[in-house]
Structures are given as C-alpha cells and as structure tokens.
C-alpha cells in the first residue's frame, strides 16, 4: 500500500510538470491551430540556455531564469514570423512537417553549440526531499511541481483576466470577429508562440534539474502529446488534469507492468493510452468536438 501511495504522489508531482509543457502546446494550438512538435527541442534549448547562464556567466538563478524566458520570447517571435506565418492556410501536413523540421534544426544546432555530452544541472533548489509522513517526494520533483504550478497559475491568470488574455481568447474563438474588433491577430499569434515557448523552457529547466540535460531530453515532448489528446487539444483545464492522469497512469504501469515484461512499459504506456483515447474519444475530455458540415 505504501509503495502505491508513493507512486501516486510522485505521479502527481510529475503530472504538474507534464501539465506545464502541455499548457505550452495548448496555448499555441488554441490561438494558431498549430501543433508544435518542436516543443521538446524548445525545452532542451531553454534548459541549455539556463545551464550556460548558471555555469559560464555564474549568474544567480533568478537572473538565469529571466534570461531564459527572454530567449524563449525571442525564439517564439522568430519562429512565428519566419516559419509559421508563410504557412498560414496551408494543409495540415505542411504545418506539422514544418514544426518537425524546426525541431530537427534546433536539435542539430544544440548539438553543434553544446556537444552531445550529458551534463548535470547545478544545484538550484535546496536538496532536502519533502517528507509527507506517508510518502517522500524527491527535492527536484517537489520544486519542479511548485514551479509548474506557479507557472501554470500565472498563465491562467493572464489568460483569464488581462487585456492580452482576452484578446487571445477572442482570437481563438473567431479570428475574423477578433480582427474586426480591432485585435491584431498577428500580434496574438506571436504572443501565443512566446507564451508557449516560455512554458516549455520552464519545463525544460525543471526537467533538466531532475534528470540532467542532454540533446535528447526533448523526447519527453512527444510523451506530452498523450496529455493534450486526453485533455482535449484546445482545453487549458484539460491539459492540467490530463497531465496528472497520464503521469499517474505512467507510474502505475511502471510499478505493475514493468516487472511482468522486463522494463520499458513506462515509456510506451502514454502512447498506448493515446491510441485508446483517439479510438474512443478523439476530442479528449474537454476538447471542442469538431462537427463537419457539408
């Protein structure tokens, strides 16, 4: 029983993180209808920028974080302006492939700049694990959870109450109506990419902190696809709830199925869940059901 409880608590902590990265996907998808498959590489880039700021410039953590967020903003704007804007109105395959291409480019660039060797992140969080009597959460996961929750809350508040957030929601709802109300849809697109990139770099820093950083850490970005499909591609609440569900299921598979088949089930579980969801309820828990009319 104890181990089950422990697994669920760890799952919850990981789930917060998944939720944050999923939020990055959803922010971009909601506003621009683009599924950014380069999200994992955005994360890796963020982690490496933060790492360099911490070790080379010896900046304090809050400064490194600011620097990373600033670089995410620049990245978001460049990507939106140079790559995605020429493809507005093109078929889905073009848009999907362009983000994959972007991912490959970013991965190559990261490899070039930082070499593929594995690195440990410098200690930025206090190392004591959090002890909740019935379960123990490792320090990295616990602080990651805190960060993810803070990040998610900030994004939610912006989306719900600020003028910018209202403009973004209006654009997501109906681009033409938003345009006629004087909202600059281009600006909203750029902003969505910035927010998405920011969410993913925070995710990257936290994951880098937990398990070290390397060129290949971006693979987790594909796992998060299960989260957004479960929650619904265009639902922010769904992304967060989906994060918890998928993380807990993943950890449970690790606990119960892995010993049966000799490991590895944990990594493939999210994809199996994903296929099941797509077969049964493709628009997810809270996603908008697309009804096609002729």
């Amino acid at each position: 029983m104890d181990i089950l409880l422990q697994i669920i608590v760890t799952g919850l902590a990981t789930g917060g993180l998944y939720g944050l990265i999923a939020l990055g996907f959803v922010l971009i998808y909601k506003a621009t209808s683009v599924l950014n498959l380069a999200m994992g590489e955005f994360m890796t880039l963020g982690a490496f920028v933060c790492f360099t700021a911490l070790t080379q410039i010896k900046a304090p953590f809050y400064l490194a974080l600011m620097l990373t967020l600033a670089s995410a903003v620049v990245l978001g704007i460049i990507v939106e302006r140079l790559i995605l804007r020429p493809l507005i109105g093109e078929p889905v395959i073009s848009v999907i492939m362009v983000t994959i291409g972007l991912g490959v480019i970013l991965r190559g660039l990261i490899y070039m700049i930082w070499t593929p060797s594995f690195r440990n992140f410098p200690q930025i969080f206090p190392p004591e694990p959090l002890n909740l009597n019935f379960a123990v959460v490792p320090s990295g996961l616990w602080w990651g959870f805190v960060f993810a929750i803070i990040g998610t809350t900030i994004f939610l508040l912006i989306f719900k109450f600020s003028r910018t957030g209202v403009a973004m929601r209006a654009t997501a709802n109906d681009q033409q109506a938003a345009l006629s109300m004087g909202i600059s849809v281009r600006w909203v697109f750029a902003l969505a990419w910035c927010f998405g990139a920011m969410a993913s770099v925070i995710g990257g820093i936290v994951i880098g902190n937990i398990s070290g950083i390397s060129v290949y850490m971006g693979d987790i970005g594909l796992k998060v696809l299960a989260v957004i499909i479960l929650g619904g591609l265009d639902s922010i609440g769904g992304a967060i709830l989906g994060g918890f569900i998928i993380a807990i299921l993943e950890n449970l598979t690790g606990l119960y199925i892995d010993p049966l088949i000799g490991g590895g089930a944990k990594d493939v579980a999210p994809f199996l869940i994903l296929v099941l969801i797509i077969m049964i309820r493709p628009y997810g828990l809270f996603g908008k059901e697309i009804i096609e009319r002729v």
Partner: protein, 347 residues
C-alpha cells in the same frame, strides 16, 4: 517544332508515355540503369541500393500521404515490420528470400490496416498523432518481444540465392533492388490512373464529397494504408537483407521523418516526385560526408561539425521546401521542362 501537346480523348490524356520522346528518354534511362553497375565502384553501388530502398518506401508513403491525404508519421514502423517478418521467416522457418518478400509486404500491410483503423474516425492532426504513437509502440515491440525479434542483439540474415547463384556483393544485390524498384514504381504509376487512384485523390481533396459520390471510405482508406505499408514492408525486407542484420535501431522515429521529407522535397502526390525526393534525401548526407573529407584535409579537427550539420541541413531542407516550393522537386522539373518545350518563344 512542338508548340503544345493536345489530346483528343481521355484515354490519350491518361497514357503513361505521353509521347515518343518520353518513351525514348525513359528507354535511355533504363539502359543507363542497366549499364551503371558495370561502370560504378562498390561505394556508388552501395548508394544506388540505398536509393532503391528509399524509392520503394517513398513511393509507398506518397500513395498514402500524397495521394490519399492520410498523414503517417509511422512509416518506419511498417518498414520495420516487413524487415522483421522477412528476417524471421528466412532464419526460423527456412523460407527462401524470394518467398519472404511478398510475405513481408503482406504482414506489413496487415499492420498498416490495423493502424489505419483510426483514420476512419479521425483525420489530419489526430491521425498524425495516432500514427506517431504507432511508431513508438512498434519500436517497443521490436525491442521487447525478444523471443521473436531477439531484442537489441538483432537477427543475422543469410544472402539471397537462386540455385547456386548467390547475391553477396553490392553489384549482385543491385539487380534485385532494380527489379523491385521498377516493379514498384510501375505498379504505383498505373495505380494512380485507375479507379482506385482516382478514389484516393478524391478522398484527399474532400472525403465527405468523395463519400457522397459513392466512394467507400472504409475500403479505400484502408486500401491506401495497406498498399503503402506493403511497399514499406518490401523496402524494409530488401534493406535489411542487404545489410545482413536487423536490429530495432534501424527503424527510429527519424526514419519516418526522412520518408516524409522525401515526399515533401520530391513533391506530394507525384510518383516521379517520390523518386526525386528519395534520391535527393539519400544523396545529401553522402555529399556532406564527402565535404567533411575535404575539410578534414585542409582544416583538421573541424570535421566533427558535420555530424550535427547533417541534421541542421536536413531540417532546413524540409522547412525551406515547405515555405518556398511546397510542390517539391517535381514542380521544379515541370517548370524546367515547360521552359524548354516552347523555347525560345515562351509565349
């Protein structure tokens, strides 16, 4: 001098060989392919074989993605299914290589049809994600179904042979590859002008309208998946037999992306385009290898940069083609031909 190409019947319009000149060019090209192995060295023949496998896979994927409009991010998984089927049949059940090829195709087609089932319900983005998931699930199966696939150690595959004639070297294998490439391309070229091919294009353009004019979506979407995976399976079986070993590392996600890159760079919805794309995407890294050799001669120590450089250039190719030439090399080729058709009086 020709000043245009006019046709009076649909049958004429759908002919594969539109004019005597085209027949002549194609004949010359086939002749070149037949003479090529006698003039080339082992390395060039190795590349030629690789291009052949890529062409078969890319033509298959183009039938699914370019003609039917069903995006598949899991093509490498079907290549893998075919490869493993052939390897297991040959090593365990003592099948001859020749018999194992159609079986590899059939098993891959079956796998493709299973993965294609979601396509009846979802499309676009969702289908894309479902096939991506399939890619990872199959990769997992290749690694973990050790009793069948021998896990990461892989399976060694014997040479193909007919009677006492063995196919060992690149040159000998070239004939096998050439045979299957010609067969595959010829079938695809004919398929797209048949009822089925037209149904595929109708589904791509608007599946609801296609259904209304009497195209059975269930049947044709699954057929597209099956045919595409059949091609993938054959390509995989040939490829691993050529390499003499099969391991799960041969079919990573990036291979699926490479196949997609081939048909995008070559031209979606064009058989000729898939060939262009396969040649282009296979040759680019080899060209970079060659460049890195030169750099090594002049500036020692800088050649490591070419490893990630390959990825960057590969990604750039995808992005730049999508932005600037979305219809790919096939379109460039058409423009080139049209320019000379009416030259020097282009109007």
């Amino acid at each position: 001098m020709r000043c245009g190409d006019f046709k009076e019947t649909y049958i004429k319009d759908e002919e594969i060989f539109q004019s005597l000149f085209v027949k002549f060019c194609l004949g010359m090209f086939l002749l070149f392919l037949l003479v090529f192995p006698f003039a080339a060295d082992a390395y060039m023949l190795y590349i030629a074989n690789m291009i052949g496998f890529a062409v078969i896979g890319a033509v298959g994927l183009n039938l699914l993605t370019g003609f039917t409009g069903q995006i598949s991010l899991g093509h490498a998984a079907f290549v893998g299914v075919g490869a493993y089927t052939s390897a297991i049949l040959v090593t365990r059940l003592g099948f001859s290589f020749w018999l194992s090829i159609p079986f590899a195709g059939l098993v891959a087609a079956l796998a493709g049809m299973i993965i294609g089932i979601p396509s009846l319900r979802v499309k676009g983005l969702y289908l894309c994600i479902a096939t991506l998931a399939a890619q990872f699930i199959f990769e997992f199966i290749f690694i973990h179904w050790e009793s069948m696939t021998k896990g990461i150690t892989g399976i060694n595959i014997p040479h193909p042979r007919i009677g006492s004639l063995e196919f060992i070297t690149e040159k000998e294998f070239y004939w096998i590859t050439l045979f299957f490439v010609v067969l595959g391309v010829g079938y695809a070229r004919n398929l797209v002008r048949s009822r089925m091919g037209r149904a595929f294009v109708a589904i791509r353009d608007r599946d609801l309208s296609a259904e209304i004019i009497g195209i059975n979506l269930f049947r044709y979407k699954l057929s597209a998946f099956a045919i595409s995976s059949f091609y993938a399976g054959v390509a995989g079986a040939l490829w691993v037999t050529f390499l003499k070993v099969v391991t799960p590392d041969h079919f990573p996600f990036i291979l699926s992306i490479q196949y997609l890159a081939m048909i995008i760079v070559g031209g979606l919805g064009s058989v000729l385009g898939s060939i262009f794309g396969a040649v282009f995407i296979t040759l680019t890294p080899e060209l970079l290898n060659y460049l890195s050799e030169i750099v090594k001669m002049y500036a020692l120590g800088h050649e490591e940069i070419f490893v990630p450089m390959k990825e960057v250039i590969f990604g750039l190719l995808i992005v730049l083609f999508l932005i600037f030439e979305p219809r790919g090399l096939a379109e460039i080729w058409n423009r080139f031909k049209n320019f000379f058709r009416l030259w020097p009086f282009s109007y």
